[in-house]
């Protein structure tokens, strides 16, 4: 393991605390903002899912980009800490993506009348979820820390090709998609901007907190595994 990993570990612990405090404070303000946000005249209270569903999607995208970033740095530098960052990004991304795919159908049931539609955005989101859930599963099936990390890095980088496709697919299918258009400046009603911003800030803080914690967990797991391998390789006296 790299010599400066102990320093990185202590930095992760140091960064996590202020993020945790910010997350707790933001959660309180966010809850108040969602509660007091105006009720949509067409959809009613269910429209308030807007303040959680897209921020979860951005968190999922960010997690998968982090996986590619960590994987690319691992291939370049060969340092286990970057592979650990890739794992953290994938797992937190899958958690956010799962929640996005739970809150979306709840909103759909209340507005469209059915839980799911094989719309291009929904189908590609499901595919994105499968790609990164498989990333986590496949890591468990390959043997050896370095071999697994190299394979996962390439897979994680290729997976991100789906992200721009997932984001722009509604525009590509012009009018044939059931999912509403991506949010643009001015597309939110009066009084809905602040709760939406707070939703994004709170879920971003939750994302960063989860990644810092998961990154530390993975780094410690790798450290313990490498130490056990080194002990097993030592000739018995």
């Amino acid at each position: 393991m790299h010599g400066s990993d102990a320093a990185l570990l202590s930095r992760l612990v140091r960064w996590r605390r202020p993020v945790g405090v910010a997350l707790a404070a933001l959660t309180v303000v966010y809850a108040w903002a969602v509660g007091s946000a105006p009720i949509d005249s067409v959809q009613g209270v269910i429209q308030k899912i807007l303040y959680v569903h897209p921020p979860l999607a951005y968190g999922a995208y960010l997690g998968f980009v982090l996986t590619a970033f960590g994987g690319a740095l691992y291939l370049w530098r060969g340092r286990e800490a970057w592979d650990a960052l890739a794992v953290a990004g994938a797992e937190v991304g899958v958690v956010f993506c799962t929640l996005m795919m739970v809150t979306g159908p709840i909103w759909a049931k209340g507005t469209w009348g059915h839980w799911w539609s094989w719309d291009p955005r929904l189908t590609l989101t499901l595919l994105l979820w499968f790609v990164y859930a498989s990333y986590l599963l496949l890591r468990g099936f390959t043997e050896g820390v370095a071999r697994t990390a190299r394979f996962a890095a390439i897979y994680g980088i290729l997976g991100t090709l789906l992200i721009p496709l997932n984001y722009f697919v509604i525009e590509l299918f012009q009018g044939r998609a059931v999912h509403p258009d991506n949010l643009q400046r001015g597309s939110l009603g009066s009084g809905m901007g602040w709760p939406f911003l707070l939703g994004n800030l709170t879920l971003f803080a939750a994302f960063v907190y989860c990644v810092l914690l998961r990154w530390e967990v993975e780094m410690r797991r790798t450290r313990i595994a490498l130490r056990a391998d080194a002990l097993a390789a030592e000739p018995s006296r």
Partner: protein, 34 residues
């Protein structure tokens, strides 16, 4: 109303449980890593 409560409830509960499990695992590994 109940749809919105379900969406926020599931999100909050899931993230809460995930963070709890991560904290527990971190504590266990930190003790083993000493």
């Amino acid at each position: 109303m109940s749809y919105a409560i379900a969406a926020y409830g599931i999100t909050g509960l899931t993230l809460g449980i995930y963070l709890f499990l991560l904290h527990r695992e971190r504590k266990r590994l930190a003790a083993a890593d000493r």
